[in-house]
Structures are given as C-alpha cells and as structure tokens.
C-alpha cells in the first residue's frame, strides 16, 4: 500500500504523464477530430487509418489515450496534494500554500471537466437578424427572443448576441453560428402563404416537394432559382430549378429570397460552476505563490 502511495506521489510520474499527454495532444491536432471511421479510411493509408481508429486519436478528448493518462495524472496530483497538506500539518510550520491552492484548483477543474463531458446538454435553435459594417463585414448578429415559462411571459425582446448570452438559471442561450438561408413562399389557390426554408419539404398527397437549395443565374432578385426535388416515398420523381411565379404542384411560388441566419445553442452545463470555481482558485493560488515567493526572497 505504501509503495502505491509513494508511486502516485512521485513528481517523476507527473513529468512522465505530462510528457505522454503532450505527445498524444500534439498528434490529435494533426488529425481532423470527431469524424466517422469511413472518413479516416478514405483519407489515410489502411495501416494509418487502422492506427487512428484503434488508438482513438480521431476523437481525442473522449478516447482512452486521453482518459487513461489523465486519470493517472488526477490520481498523481491528488496524492501529491494530500501528501503536501499532511506533511505541513505534521510539521505545523507555515509553508507556501499557493502551490497547494493551484493543485486543488486543478483537481476541481478535472472534476468539472468530467461533469461537463458527462452531463452537458445542448439544443440548437435558429434566428434571423444582423448588422453590418459599411464595408459589408459582419458587425453583429442579434437574435431577439421572448421567453415564456409555464405560459407566463418572463422576458420580451431580449437581444442575444455573441459574447452576450441569455441566462435563465442554469440554462444559457448562446449565439453559436451564422450564415444565410433561402426561403420559398408558396401560395395556394386561396392565396394562403406557406414558408419553406432550405432543407425543408412540403407534402402534397402522396408526394413531397423538397427544397434542396438555390442556384443563381445573375445578380438580380429574379435570377435566384430554387432547386426542387419531387419525391414519392423513397423514389425521386423529378428535380429542377423553379423561380418566382412558377407552379409547384397545387402551389405557385410567390417569393424566393435569402436571409441572414444565426444559430442559437441552448446550453445546460452543470460542470461550468466547479470549473469557474477552479479558475478563480487557480488565480488566487498563482497570486499567492508569487507574493509568498517574493516575500521570501526579500
């Protein structure tokens, strides 16, 4: 038991584990992450592809090559921290405890990271509003949202921007992406309009009209065409380009345009609170270490 304790409190072990983590982390940055097996088989030679898949380096942060050295490192760090604290209690002497705070903060950080990896939840949403600089570069994407909880309005017109998320208790809504999407307005015989965005479809009897994307034939608004696929079950019947005024089954295309889109992500991450506590503790530990070291030297 004692030999295990001595093994795990060893700084040499810490250095070896740090070197192992460094090597695997370096290798992981050379590989596209979190792709399917087929991707690696197509991109690399068979032997290299097998190695990438078997080692898990293609999904480094959730692989054994990360978790095993990291788990050992946490054990090592924990044992080392306990050893330092016990030795200080035995001696009863005042010692620099800045490094202890840093070590404890790293342990909390690892726990927080594990909680995030296990319990983090995400939900994607879409919104549409943007501001641009005079040269056309993006200035801000703003998503105004109304929040209703249990049928009672809680917030009206809250502007979510990047770096300015909406916080609702433990749930936060972030602006996570941006881009453009095309919208098709379909008018039926009575003039009622149905809006369909890229990637969506509309059902007419046993057929489905799928809005696959757009094609531009010029710079004018009428030069934008919608790529429409007509499906019956699993069978594609027709595919073609349609513009404003064209017929589509029982519908007529009333309008076709592109709009700015921002992606929102609703996040619930119970791991962030321990991580934040760890970061604050690490800052305190670093400051204390510096102050105590300076005090000892002067």
């Amino acid at each position: 038991m004692k030999s295990i304790y001595i093994f795990f409190k060893s700084v040499k072990l810490a250095i070896v584990l740090i070197l192992i983590i460094i090597v695997f982390a370096m290798l992981s940055t050379l590989l596209p992450q979190n792709k399917g097996e087929g991707f690696y088989r197509q991109k690399y030679q068979p032997l290299l592809a097998d190695l990438v898949i078997a080692s898990g380096l293609g999904h480094f942060s959730s692989s054994l090559v990360f978790f095993i050295p990291m788990g050992l490192f946490v054990l090592n760090l924990g044992t080392c921290t306990v050893d330092r604290l016990v030795r200080r209690a035995r001696r009863g002497a005042a010692r620099r405890f800045g490094p202890d705070l840093i070590h404890i903060s790293l342990l909390i950080l690892c726990v927080g990271g594990l909680v995030t990896a296990s319990l983090r939840q995400e939900q994607s949403l879409v919104s549409f509003e943007s501001q641009k600089y005079e040269d056309g570069r993006p200035k801000a994407w703003i998503s105004k949202v109304d929040v209703t909880i249990n049928d009672k309005p809680r917030l009206k017109g809250f502007a979510i921007e990047v770096n300015h998320p909406l916080k609702l208790g433990i749930l936060k809504v972030y602006q996570s992406s941006f881009g453009t999407e095309a919208v098709l307005h379909l008018a039926d015989a009575s003039g009622h309009i149905t809006a369909v965005s890229t990637g969506q479809s509309i059902r007419v009897g046993d057929r489905e009209f799928y809005f696959a994307g757009t094609k531009r034939t010029g710079d004018g608004p009428k030069d934008l065409k919608a790529s429409i696929e007509e499906w019956k079950g699993q069978e594609k019947i027709t595919a073609g380009e349609e513009g404003t005024g064209d017929a589509l089954g029982p519908y007529r295309i009333d309008a076709l345009y592109e709009r700015e889109v921002t992606g929102l992500t609703a996040v619930r991450d119970p791991g962030f609170i321990p991580v934040l506590a760890a970061l604050i503790l690490a800052c305190l530990g670093l400051a204390l270490t510096t102050i105590q070291k300076k005090g000892r030297e002067t």
Binding site: V11, K12, A14, I15, I18, L19, I21, I22, A25, M26, S28, T29, L30, Q33, F60, S61, G113, T116, Y133, D135, R137, P138, K139, A140, W141, E161, V162, N163, P165, K172, Y174, S176, T265, V267, D269, F272, V275, L276, L279, A282, C283, L286, A287, T289, T290, K293
Partner: protein, 263 residues
C-alpha cells in the same frame, strides 16, 4: 510610421550591443535599453492609435498581435536591464531578446501580414478577449527572455556565469508562467464560455496553448521539486518557447479551428 521608426530603433539598438559584446571587460552598453524602451513606447502608441480608430482595443488581428508582442518583449528587456544588479551578465540575453523583438516587428511589417485597420468581428468584441490576448503576450515576452537565456546557458563555458544565466532564465519563466496561465488559459476559457457557451473545445490553438503550459509546468516541477537545473531547464525553456511561437503563428497557418479568424 511609428512602427517603422520602432523597427529602426530596435535594429539600431543592436549596434552598441554587438560592439560591447565583442569588447573585452564585460561592461554593458549604456544606451541600447533606452532605445528599446523608446521602441516599445512607439509600438504601444501604434496600438493606441489603431484602438482609437476602431473604437476597441486593437489586439484582434495578426499585425496588431505581433506589434503588441514585440512592444512587450522590448519593455521586458528594458525592465530586466534597468532592474538588474549585474547588467553585464544580461548582455547576451538582452541581445537575443532584441533579435526576437526585431524578428516579430519585421514579420509584422512584411507583405504577408495584412495591416488594414478594421473593426473586429462580433465574436472578438469582448473585454475577456483583450485580457486573454494581452496577458498571454506579456507572459510570452518573459518566456522569450527565458529562451535566449537558455541558449546563452548552453553555449557558455564558465560555471559562475552559467549559474547567473540560469537564474535569469528561471526568474523570467517564474514571472511569465502565472501571467501566461491567467491570460492564455483562464481568461481564454472564460471568454470562450461567454462567446460560445463552451469553456474548452479542443480547438488546435487551445490544445497547443495547453501543451505549451504543460512544458513550462514540467520546467517548474523538474526544477523546484526534482532540483534539475541547468541543462534540463535550458532544453525545456527552449522547447517551451518554440511551442509558444508555434501556438501563436504556426497553428494559424498549418491547422484550422476556432482561432483561424484571428488572422
């Protein structure tokens, strides 16, 4: 214009340094550190002028980052030289640091780095980003001094001299390490959480910043606990700074990720 004058000043500061390095007697030159201070102030002034023009602290593209980094290296060299009780021993380290500052400002002045003054994109408009970038570069400026001191240690033969150089290397890294940790990793994580809702994404730049931090962590532990000084420390210091430069420049051009827009 100010950046150009600063470049000339840094280059000119090398002349008295070389002259005094070649002279016998070991005295440091009396003016080069003031030239470095003047260059640093001019480079910081460049950042201030650009900041006024874009109404935001101008540390959001590669050119501004390199100007800031170079200014910070010059300032650290001046402080080191002015505060030192034994400036003679610093001569090689200050000269090496001058070359690092000159290389940074020369690359920033080259056509490969765009200098257009543009307001930052929305994701970069955050005080956390400003703290993240500035503190990371200040920490890295101390690592630059540690790097040249490490080279000086490895090429030096005299044991007394080596001890003094080892001390310079250690002092630089012990100052740079907490600043880099807070700036690059802690404030970087807080900014990422505020911007995207994820404090760590294993983006290549994040991973390389972590790798760099781990190297300096190994440096401190090998030294403070295992009492490995001198050669081992020097090698780790050199590797750490090479990783620092790769994290800053190499990742942007060779690997892609969240930080790619920084260019």
């Amino acid at each position: 214009m100010m950046a150009l004058i600063a470049l000339i000043l840094i280059a000119l500061s090398g002349i008295p340094q070389v002259v005094f390095l070649l002279r016998k007697g070991g005295k440091p030159d009396p003016i080069s550190h003031y030239m470095l201070l003047a260059a640093s102030l001019l480079l910081f002034a460049t950042i201030v002028v650009r900041s006024i023009q874009i109404s935001f602290p101008a540390v959001t593209n590669t050119y501004e980052a390199m100007v800031f980094f170079s200014a910070a290296v010059c300032l650290v060299l001046f402080i080191l030289r002015a505060a030192s009780k034994n400036p003679a021993i610093l001569r090689f380290s200050v000269f090496g640091g001058t070359i690092v500052a000159l290389a940074l400002i020369m690359i920033s002045s080259s056509p490969i780095v765009p200098k257009t003054i543009q307001p930052p994109i929305p994701a970069l408009r955050s005080i956390w980003l400003v703290l993240h970038v500035t503190l990371a570069f200040i920490g890295e400026s101390f690592f630059a001094v540690g790097f040249v001191a490490a080279i000086n240690y490895l090429v030096s033969k005299d044991e007394e001299r080596r001890k003094a150089i080892d001390r310079i290397m250690y002092t630089s890294i012990i100052i740079g390490y907490p600043i880099f940790t807070v700036g690059a990793l802690i404030f970087g994580a807080i900014w990422a959480e505020a911007a995207w809702g994820s404090y760590w994404s294993w983006d290549p730049k994040e991973t390389w910043a972590l790798i760099t931090w781990l190297v300096y962590t190994a440096f401190l532990h090998s030294r403070l606990v295992m009492k490995l000084k001198g050669r081992v420390s020097s090698i780790l210091s050199i590797v750490g700074f090479l990783f620092t430069i790769f994290t800053f420049a190499g990742v942007n051009y060779l690997l892609t990720g969240l930080h790619s827009y920084g260019g």
